[in-house]
């Protein structure tokens, strides 16, 4: 040991001095280089991870909104189709109804006209009947007064009335 120390000039003071030197290096490297560098690197790593995450979220959102938009457009198209369909149906129905009601009206009008005609006819027939009977009575009166006696006359009147009736 003695020999070793003598050969290599090992001096505890120098040893400590070198240790102190290394200590300074360790401290400086750690405090000034590694620590802040690590901090920055960590921070950057986290930021990159976060921005990647954000980008993914944004992309997902975009896809979602795109899908939503498409869906909405599709729904609107469908709705429009439906509206057109219903309006068309409605139009058709309304037309039908109008036609129907017109037909009905015509029918009623025709019916009314027919009834009136029938009534008219009846009345006319009645009138004609009374007129004819009066005429017959008159004429027979005239004839009978000139030709027949009272008996015959009334007999004939009765007979003829019966025939008429």
């Amino acid at each position: 040991m003695e020999e070793l120390i003598k050969t290599f000039h090992i001096d505890w003071k120098l040893l400590i001095a070198q240790l102190v030197n290394f200590g300074i290096v360790l401290l400086v490297i750690w405090k000034f280089a590694l620590k802040p560098l690590n901090k920055v690197m960590d921070k950057r790593g986290k930021e990159i991870a976060k921005s990647l995450e954000d980008a993914r979220a944004i992309e997902a959102n975009l896809a979602k909104s795109e899908k939503e938009r498409e869906e909405r457009i599709l729904a609107a198209k469908k709705e429009a189709q439906e509206i057109i369909e219903t309006s068309r149906n409605q139009g058709k129905q309304q037309g039908q109804e109008i036609i129907e009601s017109a037909k009905r009206e015509v029918q009623t009008v025709i019916a009314a006209a027919k009834e009136q005609i029938a009534n008219e006819k009846d009345r006319m027939i009645k009138e004609i009947k009374t007129e004819v009977s009066q005429l017959v009575v008159l004429t027979t009166k005239k004839v009978l007064t000139e030709v027949l006696d009272e008996n015959l006359d009334s007999k004939m009147i009765e007979n003829s009335l019966k025939k008429i009736n």
Partner: protein, 299 residues
């Protein structure tokens, strides 16, 4: 303060011992008979009180200064959107952290050990490479005494001095043990070395497994060996680094003596690589020691 004083003193020394030329004194080595040998130890440059400042300590201070400046510049430039320096540092730190993960297998544990290991790596790397710079080991002064003139380089790679490597190795081994105490608790950590638990277990489990009476004393003995192992760690860490870097300097000096131009260049590159590898090995071994110390012993 001391650094400034010391630098002034250096200049005085240069001027004082080498007054005839303002050139580096290495140039004058051919003209006068100066013994120019590489010593195993760092030479003292000057004294402050009874504290000896060696040339390797000067180098170490330079490295500390350089790293501090670098760290401060980096701190000033840290921003969310990294500049060139910051992204470079981030790439290195990220890579080193991944490498540490492969040893610890746990990012949280890596984060805890990482500053220590990374500081060791940077400190050793810079010191290794500083030792290769031209001028370090060749600029110096001539000291006359004991009837002979000895060339003393002003700077010497700090890791080519056993004091530095021993300090680092001691730090690594003691640090790992302290870290172990913090991570697994003092009793468990103590039992890794002086395995009282193994003896305490014998009467409790002897009915279930009678072999325990043979196994656990062996376990306890292994624990004692661990203590020697810790000392061996210090020795291996310190001497490996010191030996490699010192050998590199000797090699370069030898090559320069054979032929000073071109010839040392490939060896220079080799030494750059060796400096990196040795720093990496030291740091990785420290990481491994910390990891081992922080895991509770499996039963």
């Amino acid at each position: 303060m001391t650094q400034l004083e010391q630098q002034e003193n250096n200049q005085e020394d240069i001027l004082g011992t080498c007054p005839e030329t303002s050139l580096p004194c290495a140039a004058s080595k051919e003209t006068t008979e100066v013994s120019h040998e590489i010593t195993l130890f760092a030479e003292p440059i000057f004294h402050v009180g009874n504290f000896t400042v060696t040339n390797s300590l000067l180098n170490s201070w330079t490295a500390v200064l350089a790293l501090t400046v670098l760290a401060l510049i980096l701190k000033k430039k840290i921003a969310k959107i990294p500049g060139r320096l910051q992204s470079f540092a981030e790439v290195i730190i990220e890579g080193a952290l991944n490498m540490a993960d492969s040893v610890t297998g746990d990012r949280q544990k890596s984060q805890k050990i990482f500053p220590i290991v990374f500081a060791i790596f940077l400190f050793i790397l810079l010191n290794n490479w500083l030792g290769l710079l031209p001028g370090i080991g060749s600029i110096g002064f001539i000291e006359e005494g004991h009837g002979e003139a000895i060339f003393v380089p002003l700077f010497r790679g700090a890791t080519a001095d056993l004091n530095t490597t021993l300090a680092l190795a001691l730090f690594a081994v003691f640090g790992s043990n302290i870290f172990g105490i913090f991570m697994v608790g003092i009793w468990k950590h103590f039992n890794k070395f002086v395995n009282l638990k193994a003896f305490a277990e014998i009467p409790m489990k002897i009915k279930k497994e009678p072999t325990i009476i043979f196994v656990n004393p062996i376990k306890a003995f292994v624990g004692i060996i661990e203590i020697i192992g810790e000392a061996a760690k210090v020795a291996s860490l310190s001497f490996r680094l010191f030996g490699n870097i010192f050998a590199g300097e000797v090699l370069l000096a030898a090559m320069a003596v054979i032929f000073a131009f071109i010839l040392p260049v490939p060896f220079m590159f080799l030494e750059v690589v060796v400096g990196l590898i040795q720093a990496l090995i030291f740091a990785m071994l420290t990481l491994v020691y910390f990891t081992i110390a922080s895991t509770a012993e499996e039963h």
